[in-house]
Amino acid sequence: MVDEISNEPPAVVMRGIVKRFPGGVVANDMVDFELHAGEIHGLLGENGAGKTTLMNILYGFYQPDTGSIEIFGKPATFRSPSDAIKHGIGMVHQHFKLVSDMTVVENIVLGLKSPKGILTDLPSAEARISSLAEKHGLHVDPRAQIWQLAVGELQRVEILKALYRDAKILILDEPTSVLAPTEVNDFFNSLRGLKQSGISIVLITHKLDEVMDVTDRVTVLRKGRKVATQPTQAVNKEKLAHMMVGEEIPPIADKTRTGAGEVVLEVRQLSVYDDRGLEAVKGVTFDVRKAEIIGIAGVSGNGQRELVQAIVGLRKPSSGSLKFGGKDITGKPPRRMIDLGLAYVPENRIEDASIADFRLDENMILKDFDKPPICNRLVDRIPTLLNDKEITCRGEEAVKQFSIMTTGISAKARSLSGGNLQKLILARELSGQPSLIVVSQPTRGLDIAATEFVRSILVQQRNRGAAVLLVDEDLSELITLSDRVAVMYKGQIVGLLEPGQFNLEEIGLLMTGAKKMSLAA
């Protein structure tokens, strides 16, 4: 597989890299990776495939449990990013690490020794930055303050920062996720320029188009393992999609078809803006019916998050309508949705679904702490005191029914592992027989046992008659659990697959925008 083009040693050779995280997650499992000098190398995989971990190891952010690294033919061990920088490695993270009240020049020289000792030497730095920018077509005003710059410019600053430190190897973590489509082409041209001047580039991505467009070779990772490294010319999008998602569809127990019933949630021509004021969801229409799981597939950042937030009442839609159980709930607050029978399991369990410093039983009453039987009422109306006995009872019931591993209900939620926290959240959300369940990334970061548990709970709820909306980036899980699958791409539903039509390759193509189904209804 190693194709010797020249006698030059490869820029990077990583062999047998293993990285385990606390909690037993194996992020990298015996991964080999080789970056040729002067190539653009795509590192492709789904979320959680281990791409970023592998590159964080190369950048010295993490130390591998086993495995070795060679840089330009010489063995190297990095204890911190500064070691890696000394070896000529630069990394641009997905989230920029810049000081917003400082100028571009100040940011670039930050942390470097000044040639003038304790005094800064900004003019000479500025001259060097300008010439670097000129040479590589990375145009940015060196005197501008960071907060004045657009995202595309910030990215150029980050790259200049690496080049200023004499980076020969540049790692870019999903660089296009923050760019507008029109900026992407310019950005790729700069990358080609950098390559011309001898810099080796790793492009972390999950977008097939980008791999095909700009890379020389591509390495695909799946679930922490390397699938293959191929010259880009030797593959096509279909092949890459296939390598990326695999083909096994694990069987799931107890999934008898029940035949979906009446419509519970009706989404009509829904449009939603994201935090930046861009239209993230563009006129989406679909139904979720009783006793079915409808899965939303898509690469993250294609509007799924905003769609879910609009449905549960956390984000006001800009147009279109939502009906829940026949009632119009467009733009209504979460409270109203919860009262109508919504259960919501958000993707960020710690931030959005639990209170780390509350006890387990306190976390259990988050949705109905002001209603009987948790809260006593005076003449059936005025809330008075909380019913401690009932709260304790609720907590103990949850721990028992969902077999949550804990020291007791008075433990803080922050003491729970990811799987047990998810169980606690499910216990809370599923109490009271909700008619609509919205779930986002329900098993992300969970171990196998907890994953199985969560999946079977979702199927149970569906069999009970709940309407379930499942947003999931784990495609095989999505396909296993869903009765129907809708695929989102750039804010639109580009495909709605009925049972029997599920085909990973097909979904992969729809997800990456390589194909679009014509939708009736």
Binding site: V312, L314, P333, P334, R335, M337, I338, D339, Y344, P346, E351, D352, A353, S354, I355, A356, D357, F358, E362, I365, L366, K367, F369, D370, C375, P383, T384, L385, L386, D388
Partner: protein, 339 residues
Amino acid sequence: MLTVTVFAYIVSPLVVLLVLAAAGKSPIVALDALYRGTIGTQAGFAESIVQATPLMLMAVGLVIAFRCKVWNIGAEGQQVFGAIVVTWFVLLFLKAPMPSYVMIPVALALSLLGGGLFAGVPALMKSRLGINEVITTIMMNYVAIDALNWLVRGPFQDKTIPGSYPESPIFPQETSLPIILRQSSLNIGIVVSVVACILAYYILFKTPLGYSIRAVGLNPSAAKTSGIPVKRVVNSAMFLSGALCGLGGGVYILGITHELLPEQASGLGYTAVVVSLLGNLHPLGVIFSSIFFGSLISGMSSVERALQIPQTLSLLSQGVIIVLILIIQVFARYEIRRS
């Protein structure tokens, strides 16, 4: 943790003796004066409690806001405004006061309401317009203090005394809080304060409102996702907080000064921030931290008199004590984490 805290409270005043020794004063005399100014004599004890009373109310008010992560720095303005409202009410009945069982409850209720409404302004500015409450509450302090200074030289000024001092007429007897310890100024205000702390404990930990205040303070995002109306909760916390601070001002004027003075704004509202933190942001902890602080104020003024030292030196000592307690508490936590 508790033992370490108690240790900190006992040891740190002793360190002050070293400060005084360094200033060339006899630590023995100082210790004796400190003892007599706090628990050694009835007068010292009464004065300690009297000083603790308004602090306790303001500190417990701040606990409610801080638990919601609303940084109310406006206790000073809220207590001053509470006192202004009380003065307005009392002056209406200056000539012909109603009996004290009417005057006192109504006056205290008005101080409660006044403080709450005064805090409501920055609360609305935060929840409606997103303006940082630290800035607005501090600015509202200036509004209240300047209003106070104008009122005691203008509409509320006692015009009957020649020479025109900046003060209101002395309040009628019917508005003085009843004394509960003979031969002292220890009044019923302390009972009001302790009851308020216990009530605040129940509100925070036993009612749905308190639950939502704590939930919003610990994780506003999860609270919002679960359907808690975050803005309304922030407003309620701020209103409650301001109301208790206003009551603190009311208890101060009806229990200690019996007239509106420019000294109503002597910085108690800022001290209350420290007291609430020393009480571990717990309504019951505040009972102890404010009594400790009241004793410190009373004890140090006794030391001041005994040693003939300037007030600045006694204030300096108070500062040293607070810093010491905070440091010891940090070490206590460090110990727990390591084991």
